[in-house]
């Protein structure tokens, strides 16, 4: 019996389990998945919690609901991966050997990486919304807040869902307007990037939205520390921004098990082939989702497009064929822009987000780089698709590779 082992049962790991479980011969292959948590979080939903749009119950389900009934599931922390010995050591010293390994251990926020960030104001006036605890604490804070300086700060790139900070400030504008107190709230986005977003055309269009919504933008700001006493963030070149409430996107890092195993870069992300998704160092190790060091977005949509490619490549590897170089960095992100509208972007390694219609050229129903109600419905509907189709590995009617059809240059 040969063994295929998946580490991590988040979005990427769960999709791979379902796809491979349907395809591999059960008499030949045993598939095992390991994760330390029993709850699956719909991470894109965290964004809505601070504004009371979603509650905790809307973004959690038991992981077991998404596993095939016959799957071999181990709930445990992972101590170490030993890729040269083709084995993984669990917390209780249990040893799992493998023929093929898929690493899907994701990325987490590390506020400890910035001086003073996890200080006395943590979850009092300083909040994250990338954890369920942070998002819920911020929701409680906003309910009773009477206004002041709201600063959203990105610590350093890369981060999970690079559009989430923009969505946050757009939704904050909408939320405080609807509560009749927008004039009492100054919203300020402070980013280490040279603009509102990483890619030039989207950056300029999204920058215009910030202007229109009266959101202040400070660029090229790399945070060095938080002064808890004077409520300021201070950059490495000694610029200061004062806040009454700081919403932070802390440094994002790959799982500590990657560092313990000596398999990661300086942020614990695993060096991965851009096109095949195979580990750069071990031929029977594949990496998917946020755990990779790829220059693509760390997002569920990307993990989904990667899963289609990785599924083919794992089958090729098992049958002794060469993995295909098919992953193009495709990402597709709905950006909530407040007041029941949204913006959609679709891009890959080579092509930056462009205006146009999606997925049907000229028809849509979604509009690229434009603010429409339909784009918002797309985002809302996505949660249902995620729970019911995406995690179960069902094919969706969107190609893994980006298409230029419908895009305007």
């Amino acid at each position: 019996m040969k063994k295929l082992l998946i580490l991590g049962a988040g979005t990427a790991g769960t999709m791979m389990l379902n796809k491979l479980n349907n395809a591999l011969d059960k008499n030949e292959w045993q598939i095992t998945i390991v994760d330390q948590h029993e709850t699956h979080y719909y991470q894109p939903g965290f964004l809505f919690i601070p504004f009371g749009i979603y509650k905790r119950k809307d973004v959690i389900k038991p992981k077991r609901d998404f596993f095939p009934t016959e799957a071999n599931v181990i709930v445990s922390e992972i101590e170490k991966i030993e890729p040269k010995e083709n084995r993984v050591i669990l917390k209780n010293n249990k040893v799992l050997s493998y023929d093929v390994l898929i690493i899907a251990t994701g990325a987490q926020i590390k506020p400890e990486e910035t001086e003073g960030l996890k200080g006395e104001l943590w979850h009092k006036n300083v909040f994250d919304f990338y954890t369920i605890e942070g998002a819920c604490a911020l929701a409680d804070f906003f309910k009773h807040w009477e206004g002041g300086k709201l600063v959203l700060n990105i610590t350093e790139m890369p981060i999970k869902c690079p559009v989430a900070p923009l969505e946050f400030v757009f939704l904050a504008d909408s939320y405080f307007t609807e509560r009749g107190m927008r004039d009492k709230v100054e919203i300020h986005l402070v980013t280490p990037l040279p603009g509102a977003f990483t890619k030039p055309r989207a950056s300029s269009i999204l920058g215009d939205f910030l202007d229109k919504k009266n959101i202040k933008l400070t660029t090229d700001f790399s945070i060095a520390r938080v002064d808890n006493e004077s409520k300021k963030i201070i950059s490495w070149d000694e610029r200061e921004v004062a806040f009454d409430v700081l919403v932070t996107i802390p440094t994002n890092m790959g799982d500590a098990v990657i560092a313990r195993s000596g398999m990661g870069d300086e942020l614990n992300f695993v060096p991965t082939d851009k096109q095949t998704l195979r580990s750069q160092d071990y031929e029977n190790v594949f990496v998917i989702g946020d755990a990779t060091n790829l220059p693509s977005s760390k997002a569920g949509s990307v993990a989904h497009f990667q899963a289609d490619v990785l599924f083919e490549n794992v089958l090729s590897f098992i049958e002794g064929r060469k993995p295909q170089e098919k992953f193009d960095g495709h990402a597709n992100c709905f950006i909530e822009s407040g007041f029941g509208k949204g913006i959609l972007i679709d891009f890959n390694y080579e092509t930056e987000p462009l205006p146009g219609k999606f997925p049907l050229p000229g028809v849509g129903p979604f509009s690229l780089l434009e603010e429409t109600k339909m784009n918002h419905y797309g985002k809302v509907m996505f949660r249902w698709m995620y729970w019911n189709f995406l995690l179960k590995g069902t094919e969706l009617p969107i190609e893994s590779q980006m298409s230029m059809a419908g895009k305007r240059l």
């Binding site: 790139m157 890619k199 090229d220 060095a224 490495w236 070149d237 870069d265 300086e266 220059p295």
Partner: protein, 105 residues
């Protein structure tokens, strides 16, 4: 693509203003590029960073991030910002004759 003269030599620049051909690079060109970035005179500490970056690029094929610079070059983040005000990784890569580090999105 644009061509520009630095230290008496005409070199090709990419869209970010970085050298297209690494072979064009010399210490004199580095000094002129530094000047253009508002850095007058490269000190020994600047060279620790620039040499580390060039070595890293030769072995890895990508210019290192600030985090990697801090961890491995022996120059901490605070000093990096002092040496290359504004954007250490981006500016040092340009002065070292390397392409802009791959922005992660």
């Amino acid at each position: 693509m644009a061509a520009k003269e630095y230290a008496g030599k005409t070199v090709e620049l990419d869209a970010d203003g970085n050298l297209v051909n690494q072979a064009d690079w010399s210490e004199d060109i580095a000094k002129s590029l530094a000047q253009e970035e508002g850095i007058n005179g490269l000190t020994e500490r600047h060279w620790v960073v620039l040499n580390y970056m060039r070595k890293e690029f030769q072995t890895k094929g990508d210019a290192p991030s600030i985090r990697k610079l801090t961890k491995e070059s022996g120059v901490d983040t605070k000093e990096l910002y002092g040496l290359f005000p504004g954007g250490p990784a981006k500016k040092a890569a340009r002065i070292a004759g390397l392409p802009k580090p791959k922005g992660c999105i």
